[in-house]
């Protein structure tokens, strides 16, 4: 699964730290999601989408091998 959290962050002019605080997770978690190292739970994915005012599908997409 890939995501465009980094792009969304840039659009909303948000640092990793700010996004982490809004989601009450650690900064490492944001970094791990952005670099594709960590696939978040459904709850966290929904929260991310909510922060950016988008639907989950607009931020998280399946990849060929998923």
């Amino acid at each position: 699964m890939k995501n465009n959290i980094k792009i969304q962050r840039a659009i909303h002019q948000m640092t990793q730290e700010e996004l982490a605080q809004k989601l009450s997770v650690s900064r490492q978690t944001i970094h791990a999601m952005e670099s594709g190292k960590y696939v978040p739970s459904t709850v966290l994915a929904l929260k991310v989408a909510k922060v950016f005012g988008k639907s989950v599908e607009e931020i998280f997409m399946l990849e060929k091998w998923d």
Partner: protein, 156 residues
């Protein structure tokens, strides 16, 4: 989230206990008299080499090993089972994978010891083996946390 975990402040207490145990351990190597210190303990079962089993008795024993063993395990558990400052699902995943690592590697080492260590030396393996799961977990979990923190910092 995970209700098995203690508040973060217990981690410091755990490190302190581990530090004390390490100092005690070094002292016992430097000063052999320390290992001879005796104190009465309550034993559910106790036996001497080639002696008979005694049940539910008070008896003098070398107390330093008891103290070190208990302190190390309590300290190790506190370090392992305390929350990180921000304990979230990603940290939880790292935690779980570190436990798998620790148990797996522990048994690989044990197989190795079974195959290549014999006689009374194996007794040492058994003694150290009581602590290796905790030690491997603590090393691996804290290393991977450190690595992730560093990579995250690097990004900015």
């Amino acid at each position: 989230m995970n209700t098995l975990l203690l508040p973060h402040r217990f981690k410091k207490v755990g490190w302190l206990l581990l530090a004390i145990t390490t100092i005690l351990y070094i002292l016992t190597i430097v000063n052999n008299d320390l290992t001879d210190w005796k104190a009465p303990v309550f034993a559910i079962c106790i036996d001497e080499l080639l002696g008979e089993h005694k049940w539910f008795v008070w008896q003098d024993t070398e107390i330093i090993q008891t103290v070190m063993g208990v302190l190390f395990i309590v300290g190790g558990l506190l370090v392992s089972f305390s929350k990180e400052p921000i304990e979230d699902e990603f940290i939880g995943k790292l935690r779980l994978s570190s436990w798998m690592w620790a148990v797996g590697l522990n048994y690989i080492l044990l197989i190795f010891a079974f195959l290549f260590v014999y006689g009374t030396a194996f007794l040492s393996v058994m003694i150290y083996g009581m602590f290796t799961v905790l030690i491997i977990f603590i090393l691996r979990f804290n290393f991977i946390l450190f690595q992730n923190k560093r990579q995250t910092k690097h990004e900015e």
